[in-house]
Symmetry: C2
Subunit: 390 residues, 2 copies
């Protein structure tokens, strides 16, 4: 068996949704974490038959009282012993408050706890949660080691600060608020559309091919106070659920902030440019010179940090699972893969349902990807020098 | 990646308990099934912090209303599409009735559905469920393809027939009731103590070494109307939870009733004794001559059936996981592995809790075992000729 990077008997406490059928929330996160060697304690914030994208579902939300009963049971039995905490979809303010109290307790008592907070609130303009969770998330942010909002969540989470993301100054402001006001050391924006102002400013070695921009590429950002990495990813047509949940789990699994980075292909004698060295303000990594495989000319070196390595692995595996899912969906009978059409979907709800079913992540079939049997072909996140000067 | 026997995009609907911490019920079954290539739909009949062996726990049972809401959500969205059904711990009669109604519906509409019913009711003389589930289990039995009761559950499930298992005639009667009255084609008794009447009657090639009998060996039976297989397994000291749940999942994963058996090491020219041939009354397998590795003298051939193959694999993997768990527990600090002592445990509840925690199955660390990376060293279940003459 190949655990591509042993978890050293680490333990994740995962608090997110559960669906019987398909792969979102815990169903998208727990199996990958287990495959990568983590014992996972699994708290279900809802127990639904399927994800909300189907339009209809059965089951119930877990109340704050039920969550507290579970947390108390664990505490009584000395079972609150995670080294990592992962929180995702928590639908209401009361339940989120229960989780926040637990996170506070864990953070105060577990030295070195790594907390990945995925502020699951919505996507593509649609809000999944009650609006009253937003102030609770503001209380939670300072506890997080890493957050993985999508574009919508960045804007939404920051609404109270009146920061609309429309250009570089507003993006800088939003990030500074996250880093400085909320003290979040690591911010990963998991997926954002390539708006013209963003595309225009992209360094050459990150920019996608001119002829693939039309296909509405997505940009993947990784941001820290002074080190920014990014990468472009071809957009796969159609909407897939659970992608963010999978990405966050894979990122958490491979994020080793204090572990020295060993890069077998680097030349130990190579000088690391001082400018990159001087750019780092955190102590969570050792800079490693790497050659950008696709664009050796524009930037021969870029900094690789523990976060950029983890996010590169997570990006590569998530994207590979998506490609596998997409190709499986393509081979389904036509009624299982009809394109989105709100009018036709409204007339015939099963039309939408069958499409959703055909797009459930191919997580079990793709477990070799998750385990890292396919290595070394990943999309590396690339250092974006000069981001803060834009 | 090595899926030792591909699941051919099969899908298991698993209905059993969920615990946040540790490995019983779904937590012991789902990950192994996923590792072996199955998509698993996961219904949680309880959401507890930990298993009941800890003495204290938090969380709630899922009501029949909640279960029905989930099942209806799945039906509405055409998501009731398992090829295999696995049911385990269902704590009350109302919830079990909801599951029974679903099982009935699936059995009536899904041709070829394989239903493994683990009638989880108790162990070692202790009942886990409300007594009113027993009549509901009687209704469920005729739907099952395989059942995997332990010794206590066989006696308890049969209480209503006044069949106490105290000798071969009563064992024969109990099995006949299961096979003939309840129409269960495959019965696997997952673990029973080696009572003197049983030990005395064991064929030489199944009997354990004389000097290991003292260590209170367990006997593992596999029984069908006319073909019986059995094997002795060294008892590992201490009580481990979730073992039956793991065994049932692994058995279901590898049970292929209609798949031809290919045995690479067999000699195609070898005659199969007619007596064994004539003993088979079912059509679900092809008899394959195998040499009993440990005792070539007493029985050169025994029948291998799809069930005996699946149970041999499940037995080997379960036993290997137990050995790994046991050796891990041995390396813990003393306070994590103090022996069972009811008086001391009552004085200091954490004494018991810590022991339980140290004995949680090493499922994640042992995932290589589950995937079958270690092959060919399994404990084969051995044909028991003459069982019905005893």
């Amino acid at each position: 068996m190949s655990l591509d990077d042993a978890a050293d008997s680490q333990r994740v406490l995962s608090i997110q949704s559960h669906v019987v059928f398909g792969y979102v929330g815990g169903k998208a996160a727990v199996f990958p974490l287990q495959c990568l060697g983590y014992d996972v304690d699994v708290v279900n914030t809802v127990n639904f038959s399927n994800h909300s994208g189907y339009g209809r579902s059965g089951g119930t939300k877990t109340t704050a009282t039920e969550l507290n009963s579970i947390f108390e049971g664990m505490e009584t039995n000395e079972l609150l012993m995670p080294t990592r905490l992962l929180t995702g979809y928590i639908p209401g303010a009361e339940a989120l408050t229960a989780v926040a109290q637990l996170a506070q307790k864990l953070k105060a008592t577990k030295e070195g706890l790594i907390y990945l907070l995925d502020p699951v609130m919505g996507d593509a303009g649609q809000l999944y949660v009650a609006a009253d969770v937003i102030p609770v998330y503001k209380d939670l942010l300072p506890l997080a080691t890493v957050i993985t909002p999508n574009w919508f969540e960045v804007e939404y989470a920051l609404l109270l600060t009146d920061t609309k993301l429309k250009d570089f100054p507003s993006l800088h402001t939003a990030l500074r608020i996250l880093h400085e006001k909320y003290h979040v050391p690591h911010v990963v924006i998991s997926s954002i559309p390539l708006k013209p102002w963003l595309l225009a400013a992209l360094p050459e070695h990150i920019k996608p091919d001119a002829n693939s921009v039309d296909s509405n590429e997505h940009l993947l950002y990784r941001l820290r106070p002074s080190i920014v990495h990014a990468q472009c990813v071809p957009l796969i047509p159609g909407y897939f659920s659970g992608v963010g949940d999978l990405f966050s789990a894979l990122l958490l699994a491979r994020f080793h902030p204090t572990k020295p980075i060993v890069n077998g292909s680097s030349n130990p004698g190579t000088d690391i440019p001082n400018t990159i060295h001087q750019n780092t303000t955190t102590t969570d990594g050792i800079l490693t010179p790497l050659t950008t495989p696709s664009t050796p000319s524009s930037s021969s070196f870029f900094s690789s940090t523990p976060l950029s390595i983890a996010a590169s692995l997570a990006l590569h595996k998530t994207h590979s699972i998506l490609l596998l899912t997409h190709s499986s969906a393509q081979s389904l009978p036509y009624e299982e893969r009809q394109p989105t059409d709100d009018e036709l979907d409204a007339l015939e709800p099963l039309r939408k349902t069958r499409r959703m079913r055909g797009r459930e992540l191919a997580l079990v079939r793709g477990q070799g990807i998750i385990r890292g049997d396919v290595k070394g072909q990943g999309r590396q996140l690339v250092f974006w020098d000069g981001f803060w000067d834009l």
